[in-house]
């Protein structure tokens, strides 16, 4: 390892208690991390971030040009549309609310949020970090998949299987006035 002359490159600032001390060629000084496999963020990270932004911007722009945002008729407090559907991300909630207003709208969502926050304090087994679907976490992954499936199924029901008066319909029998 060839040390680079300290003083010249990183002049010490006597007012600071910290500073960049030196840069060395060779493996990083991080301990307990096994063999070094660090790369410098410039350009490896930067180029990926820039590419992701370009892609993200392009997709959003294309959607906005070719599929403009919907605008319904002006609000009319006297006449609710039938059915009055929430935006897709709240359709799961609306589906629950159709069974019981308190539990569907506040009770269950509140418990879900608290439950989500509790996950890292309940599952403290130190294994499988940094791997997709680690074997030792099969149980956890299955439970989570169950949760995701419920969320998605509720949204799909609300979007495609509920018609006027929030009654059951199949997508192919849906009255035409329901978008």
């Amino acid at each position: 390892m060839k040390r680079i002359r300290e003083e010249e490159i990183f002049p010490r600032n006597p007012n600071k208690t910290y500073g960049l001390m030196e840069l060395v060629k060779g493996s990083s000084t991080r301990v307990d991390r096994g063999p070094d496999d660090m790369v410098s963020s410039w350009p490896h990270l930067l180029i990926r971030e820039a590419a992701l932004f370009a892609a993200c911007f392009a997709v959003i722009l294309a959607l906005s040009v070719f599929k403009p945002a919907p605008l319904e008729l002006e609000a009319n407090p006297q006449k609710p549309p039938n059915p009055a559907k929430a935006p897709w991300y709240f359709l799961g909630l609306q589906e629950l609310v159709a069974y019981d207003a308190f539990w569907g709208g506040l009770g269950i969502p509140g418990l879900v949020v608290i439950g989500l926050m509790a996950i890292p304090y309940l599952d403290r087994h130190h294994s499988g970090i940094g791997r997709w679907f680690a074997k030792s976490r099969r149980m956890a992954c299955t439970l989570w998949t169950g949760y995701v499936v419920i969320v998605i199924v509720l949204i799909i029901i609300g979007q495609y299987f509920r018609g006027p008066n929030w009654a059951w319909y199949t997508p192919w029998n849906m009255p035409p006035e329901v978008q």
């Binding site: 407090p77 006297q78 006449k79 609710p80 549309p81 039938n82 059915p83 009055a84 609306q94 609310v97 159709a98 069974y99 019981d100 207003a101 709208g105 006027p164 008066n165 929030w166 009654a167």
Partner: protein, 159 residues
């Protein structure tokens, strides 16, 4: 914070006391601020339509009438010589119900009510409100939405 948890100095030293007191003061201040904010967001006047409105002479309504007063979200009904005012705000989550042959249906989550506002189909659990109907000196009938009843059959009987 500065509370001293040193093993040997568990008792309340002067410094502990001061920092506890300071924390208490800060806490009380924050609570007070929260109360002030809460009160600020609390509307003191309502900008909605007035809660009392006239519906004209009883003779406007024939027997069996079911008349929708849209901007007040009230349905006026007449059974024989009895006139009632039923709220059209769904008891489930507040959509406006629509009159239907069987009574009132809510388009939002499918609640159904009969002609007197009783629930015949969920998810609503409670029947529609009835409002007070009374005559004014001029002989017109007036509905007072500030007086509401959760049980049906609050009629005004035409004499």
């Amino acid at each position: 914070m500065a509370v001293n948890y040193d093993q040997e100095k568990q008792d309340l030293t002067r410094r502990n006391f001061l920092s506890l007191a300071a924390n208490g003061l800060i806490g009380a201040g924050l609570l007070g601020a929260a109360a002030v904010f809460g009160k600020f967001f609390w509307p003191n006047v309502s900008y909605g339509p007035p809660s009392k409105f006239s519906i004209g002479k009883p003779t406007n309504f024939g027997d069996g009438a079911k008349l929708n007063i849209a901007d007040q979200k009230v349905s006026i009904i007449r059974h024989g010589d009895k006139i009632g005012a039923i709220s059209m705000v769904c008891q489930h989550l507040g959509c406006t119900v629509a009159a239907s042959p069987t009574g009132y249906d809510c388009p939002c989550h499918g609640s159904k009510y009969d002609d007197k506002g009783n629930v015949t189909h969920g998810p609503a659990l409670v029947s529609l409100f009835w409002f007070d109907v009374h005559p004014t000196p001029s002989g017109d009938l007036e509905v007072d939405k500030s007086k509401k009843f959760s049980d049906p059959d609050h009629y005004y009987t035409v004499t």
